[in-house]
Each structure stands twice: as structure tokens, then as C-alpha cells.
């Protein structure tokens, strides 16, 4: 009898648990927090609901969407989306609108932006190893500095020049030409438009979804145990035997046949007993995370600003993003005369900001809110602070190397699968985290061999499958024409055609042989409708036909490349306009 323990009650873990119950299993979910939802939770303070990070419910994965609709259905609200960037005491539309951006910057700055753009178009970075180089080559350094640099550095805490290409590559994978072309074939433009203008959102935030899923799991005989921290994972060789959980100082051992874990993979390695070899431990210790804290403020005014959220690029304040929860869902705010805001500060667990007392953080947030001009300090009536550890796995210079070691060891554990953003140390969004949970269960129950590490942010797993079917078609349509071969073929056809046309008339004979065809002599010196003219016509036809074929091939190849370049550019622009969502 299969007995599955799932470590982590976030989207990945709970999706896995829900899927297992469909197969008649009764999994046990262990969640160390007193609430479910993981990074996608809703926290409550005096009846106000706060979404940690702001989670739009949008996915291109049909199975995930189906789960959302099955679980919450009528509880979803279709919300209009508005977000802006605050920079240099001005607000800019986000996704970026070129005209709005240039107007907002002022004439002088706009001219510098254009000049910078031209300069980097003419003399780009020869290598695109970093995020900075990648964006600069496409938009110029000045635009990069204004709209990408400060926010990205606030989020990650390291200079953009040190953000490795690997990070950029994963986040911008959608820009590979192949994906662009697939986008043309597979994704209707309407979807993209919808994504930009509106989104679905549970009435009481994302936590509502996960509370409902936890309820479903328990209804079907599974268990969701909150506040239970896994302190040890016991193994014999490459098999996990049990996990030890701690609750209020007491430990309990839970044996199982199979384990699925969404806890940070580095923690998992460090909690193994007996421990893995030292190089694996060392690699796990080297994996790092970025954390954030949300200062939640209750403000005594309604309709402070129309945005769902605002990106704060200005360096004069430390806040990175501001959520206005009433604009996500009015039900998040119990008092309609007030607003609740979430000021998000990106930091690293244990650093000065993380350790700042809540009272001082509340003071800082109120002050910065006033600096930005969204409300006065006097308007702030109450507040609290929520800290979110390990929110983002960091892709630093050496993470990939450490991940090879960690993954190598984890893959060797035969009855354990890791899932979710932190379980895989991949920057997956909620929907992809859920997908890893689904696929892990299929591996376990159906004996499938889904590679969970391949499920990532922009490469749609299911589209990858469809892609395999589409690839031959793309290969058929997009390769170049061989100009010389075409010239040879059309030349041969032209030469033969003229030869046959001439010789046929010669053979037919008559008083005047081929007076009309003979007019070709105007263009082909020496050509006549005669036996020798037929041979000469063969040569002329070959040359003229060949020239025609070669020119056609050249034009077709050029137009094809231009076409592809234009599509690529358009998609690059489109993605860059909403790039902050991927930061």
C-alpha cells in the first residue's frame, strides 16, 4: 500500500496531494507555517487580507487552469489590471508605452535615450553575458538604467552587471526565435492582450485557493498538518525511510513509502540523516535565496491610487513594490472607507532590513509612502509586517555548478521527488510549481518519466510536447532556398524551353519560320529561329532563366530573414515592455 508524505503545503505540494487523492491515496502534507499556500498565501490582520507578492491567476497550462476553476470557480473575480512605474517623481505606464515613457522623461532625457539607443545599436556589446548587456544591446544603456537597473537591483540585491546570462536566459527564454515562431503558431494574440488588461483573482486572495485545496484533500482522507517543521529526513542508502517532524518541542517520526518535497532543496540536503557526502553538503550550503518583507499598512482613505501595484524604481526610497489590495479585490478590505497597502522590501534573511524591528519598518513605510506622494504619514492608521523567507532562488555566478551536484544526489534518491520553486531551486511561478506537483504524482502513480527540473517559467511544458510535433513543419518552411541550385534548375528549364520552342518551329518549316519568336533576337544577339539559333537559344535561356531563379532565391531568402527579424523584434519589444514581471 502506497503511503506518501508531502513536505510543504504550498501550490506544488497541495496540488500533488489533491492529485494523489484522485488515485485513492491519502497523502500527508506537512507544512511548517500555521497556514497553507507557501509563497502564494494570503495573510490576515484585523480582518484585512494581504497577498504576499501579488499573484495574478493567469496560466497557459490548461490543466492548471482547470484545477483553479474546479476548486474556486465562482469565487474568482475578473479584475482590470493597472500598474505603473514610479521613477524620478513621475509615474510611467507599465507595461511600458514608448510614447508615454518618452514624454514622461522630458525632451532632453528623451533625446539622450534615443541617442543612447542608436549608439548601442551601432556598437553593441560583443558578448551578451549579463542581463545588463542583453538589455543595453536592445534598448540602449540609458533606458536600461531608468527602467530596468534600479528595480532589478532592488529585487536581487546585486548589480545587474553581475546577474549572469543564465538568469537572463531563463527569464527571457521566450525570446528564442523558435519560441517566437511557436508563439505565432500557437498563441492567439487575444490571450496576450487579455493578460495585459485583466486577470482572474480569488475574492480573498491566493490563500483562498490553497485553503480550499487543503479542505478537499482532507475531505478525501488526506491530512494537512500545519505548524509541523520537518527537522530530519532519515534514509537508508538511496531510500528515504521516514521524516521527523517537530511541533512544540516534541518530535514525531513519520514513515512512508514515497516522499515528495517542496521544501528548499538546500534545506532538504542538510536535513538528511545520515548526511550525504561533504561536496553535496557544501553545494547545498552555497545555494542562496532572496527574501522579502511586506509592510502592510491600513490607510484611512479609499481610492489612494488606481493601480493594482506600483513598481518603485526611484532610489530615494527603499521600497520596491507597492500593492493596493482593494484594487486586487474589494473583499480584501473589510472597511470600504479605508485602503490596505503592502509595501514590499526585498532583502536577505538576517540582513539589517530583515532584522529591523516592526515598529521601525512601519515608520519607514509610512515615511516612504509620503515621499512618493501616495498618502501622508497621518493617513496611516495601523499596520503589521510579514516576512517571507526564501522567496526567490538566486541565480548567481556559481549556482548552476552547485545545482549539478545537488541534483545529482537528489535524483539518486529513489523514492523522493522534489517539486515547486524552492524544491527545484528554479524561479517557477505558481502555475509551473503546480505543474511540477502534478507531474510528480504521475511519475509516482503512473510510472511516467517526466523531468520536473525542465518545467520552468517561460518554456511551457505542454507546448514543448506540441513543439515536437511542430518542429518538422518549421524545418520545412523556414530553411533558405539554395540560390545556385534554383538558378541551375530554372536555367536548365529556360534553356530547354527556348531550345524546344525554336526547334519545333524549325521542324514545322514554312515560308517564314517563327517571325514572332525571332523577335527574341532583339534581346539575345545572334538568336534566330534556326538550328544554330536553337543551340544559342539554349544558352541564352539558361543564362536568363538562371538569373531569374537566382534573383528569386535571393529575394525570398532576404524577405524571409527580414520577416523573422521583424517578428523577433516585435516579441522582444513586447516582452521587454512587461519585463519587470519576470524580474
Amino acid at each position: 500500500m502506497r503511503n506518501v508524505v508531502i513536505i510543504g503545503g504550498g501550490p506544488a505540494g497541495l496540488t500533488a496531494a489533491r492529485e494523489l487523492t484522485k488515485f485513492g491515496d491519502r497523502p500527508t502534507v506537512l507544512e511548517k507555517n500555521p497556514h497553507v499556500g507557501g509563497l502564494s498565501c494570503t495573510l490576515e490582520y484585523k480582518g484585512y487580507h494581504f497577498d504576499m507578492g501579488g499573484h495574478r491567476f493567469f496560466t497557459k497550462v490548461d490543466e492548471v487552469n482547470k484545477i483553479w476553476q474546479e476548486v474556486l470557480g465562482g469565487e474568482f473575480l475578473r479584475r482590470p489590471r493597472m500598474s505603473r512605474i514610479f521613477y524620478n517623481n513621475r509615474f510611467f505606464h507599465y507595461p511600458l508605452k514608448p510614447l508615454n515613457a518618452l514624454m514622461g522623461l522630458g525632451i532632453f532625457q528623451a533625446v539622450l535615450v534615443v541617442l543612447s539607443y542608436l549608439r548601442w545599436q551601432i556598437w553593441p556589446h560583443k558578448q551578451e553575458d549579463t542581463f545588463e548587456q542583453w538589455v543595453t544591446n536592445r534598448f540602449g544603456h540609458r533606458l536600461f538604467s531608468i527602467f530596468f537597473k534600479t528595480y532589478t537591483e532592488k529585487v536581487w540585491g546585486i548589480p545587474c552587471s553581475e546577474l549572469r546570462a543564465e538568469w537572463a536566459a531563463q527569464r527571457i527564454k521566450g525570446l528564442s526565435l523558435k519560441t517566437v515562431l511557436l508563439t505565432m503558431f500557437l498563441k492567439p494574440q487575444k490571450t496576450i492582450k487579455t493578460l495585459i488588461e485583466e486577470f482572474d483573482y480569488p475574492r480573498l486572495g491566493p490563500g483562498m485557493m490553497w485553503q480550499a485545496v487543503a479542505g478537499e484533500v482532507e475531505e478525501k482522507g488526506g491530512r494537512v498538518r500545519l505548524g509541523e517543521d520537518v527537522v530530519r529526513i532519515c534514509r537508508t542508502g538511496s531510500r528515504i525511510d521516514s521524516v521527523v517532524v517537530a511541533r512544540e518541542g516534541r518530535e514525531e517520526t513519520l514513515p512512508a513509502t514515497d516522499f515528495i518535497s517542496s521544501m528548499p532543496v538546500s534545506e532538504l540536503i542538510l536535513k538528511l540523516s545520515p548526511p550525504p557526502p561533504e561536496p553535496v553538503l557544501e553545494a547545498a550550503r552555497r545555494l542562496t535565496y532572496r527574501d522579502f518583507l511586506t509592510v502592510c499598512l491600513i490607510v484611512g482613505k479609499r481610492d489612494l491610487f488606481p493601480d493594482n501595484w506600483i513598481y518603485v524604481h526611484s532610489t530615494q526610497v527603499r521600497v520596491g513594490r507597492i500593492q493596493n489590495f482593494a484594487n486586487w479585490s474589494p473583499d480584501m478590505v473589510p472597511d470600504p472607507s479605508k485602503s490596505s497597502l503592502g509595501l514590499e522590501y526585498f532583502c536577505t534573511e538576517g540582513d539589517a532590513l530583515w532584522n529591523t524591528p516592526d515598529a521601525r519598518l512601519l515608520e519607514l513605510a509610512a515615511r516612504e509612502l509620503e515621499t512618493i506622494g501616495l498618502a501622508t504619514r497621518a493617513d496611516v492608521q495601523d499596520g503589521c509586517v510579514f516576512r517571507v523567507p526564501k522567496a526567490y532562488p538566486v541565480y548567481d555566478a556559481s549556482y548552476a555548478e552547485y545545482m549539478v551536484t545537488v541534483r545529482g544526489f537528489v535524483d539518486g534518491l529513489e523514492n523522493l521527488q522534489t517539486i515547486g520553486r524552492n524544491g527545484l531551486h528554479r524561479y517557477n511561478n505558481q502555475d509551473h510549481a503546480m505543474l511540477t506537483g502534478l507531474l510528480a504524482v504521475r511519475n509516482l502513480v503512473l510510472g511516467e518519466h517526466n523531468d520536473l527540473w525542465s518545467v520552468n517559467t517561460e518554456a511551457e511544458y505542454h507546448e514543448e510536447i506540441t513543439e515536437k510535433a511542430l518542429t518538422p513543419a518549421l524545418e520545412e518552411y523556414f530553411p533558405r532556398i539554395d540560390r545556385l541550385a534554383l538558378a541551375g534548375a530554372t536555367g536548365a528549364a529556360g534553356g530547354l524551353a527556348l531550345f524546344l520552342a525554336t526547334i519545333l518551329l524549325v521542324l514545322k518549316g514554312g515560308a517564314v519560320v517563327g517571325p514572332t519568336l525571332g523577335l527574341l533576337g532583339q534581346y539575345f544577339p545572334g538568336y534566330t529561329v534556326s538550328p544554330s539559333g536553337a543551340v544559342l537559344g539554349l544558352l541564352y535561356g539558361f543564362v536568363a532563366g538562371g538569373a531569374l531563379g537566382w534573383t528569386f532565391g535571393l529575394l525570398r531568402n532576404t524577405v524571409l530573414l527580414l520577416y523573422v527579424a521583424i517578428i523577433r523584434r516585435r516579441v522582444e519589444l513586447g516582452l521587454l515592455r512587461r519585463f519587470l514581471e519576470f524580474v
Binding site: 527564454k173 526565435l177 533558405r480 539554395d482 545556385l484
Partner: protein, 107 residues
């Protein structure tokens, strides 16, 4: 094609091949239609002498005249010649391309 850059590589390194029969049929239909429409057009326009130049095609297309019936004969001839031309050009192109890129795997 697992490498996301593979298509870029494909664009600059791979040469397209065509289906000779398909190209033949398409060229045949186009040429047949051109002859048909050109003939019918002159027939409808009418006049003392109908299509003196176009009727020269009769030198090659046995039975062809600038008449309604001739337009159908012209379509048939146009298709045959067009098919032959399209098929020949495509087959020759594919053959030459294969000769020039023996090491490039076919799509």
C-alpha cells in the same frame, strides 16, 4: 532541435527542398488558368480579328484557338506544360541542392 537557438542555426545553414509533384501541379494550374483567362478575355472582347498574337500558341498547343473551346484546350495544355515545368525545375533544384549539401541532413 532541443537547443532553443536551433532554429536560428537552421535559418542560416539548412536548405529547403520542395515536393516536385506539388510544385508541378501548382505551376500547371497557374499556367493553365493564365492561358484560359487570357483566351476567354479576348473572346469576350470580340472584334474583327480575335487574338491574333495569342493564337500563335497554336503553333505549340495542338488544337488551340482563341475561342471558348480553345480556352479549355489552352487550359489543358497550360496545365501539362506548367506541370512539366514545375516538376522539372523542382526536381532539378532538389537534385542540385542535394549535390551541393550532401552533408546537410534533410528536414
Amino acid at each position: 532541435m532541443d537547443d532553443p537557438r536551433a532554429l536560428e542555426h537552421l535559418l542560416v545553414s539548412r536548405m529547403v527542398r520542395f515536393n516536385a509533384t506539388v510544385q508541378g501541379v501548382v505551376t500547371g494550374l497557374v499556367l493553365g488558368l493564365i492561358v484560359f483567362v487570357a483566351t476567354i478575355w479576348l473572346v469576350i472582347k470580340g472584334g474583327p480579328v480575335v487574338g491574333p498574337h495569342l493564337s500563335l500558341l497554336g503553333q505549340y498547343f495542338i488544337g488551340y484557338r482563341v475561342t471558348v473551346l480553345g480556352s479549355l484546350v489552352g487550359f489543358a495544355w497550360g496545365f501539362v506544360v506548367g506541370f512539366g515545368l514545375g516538376f522539372f525545375v523542382t526536381a532539378t533544384y532538389n537534385w542540385l541542392t542535394d549535390l551541393r549539401h550532401r552533408s546537410t541532413p534533410r528536414a
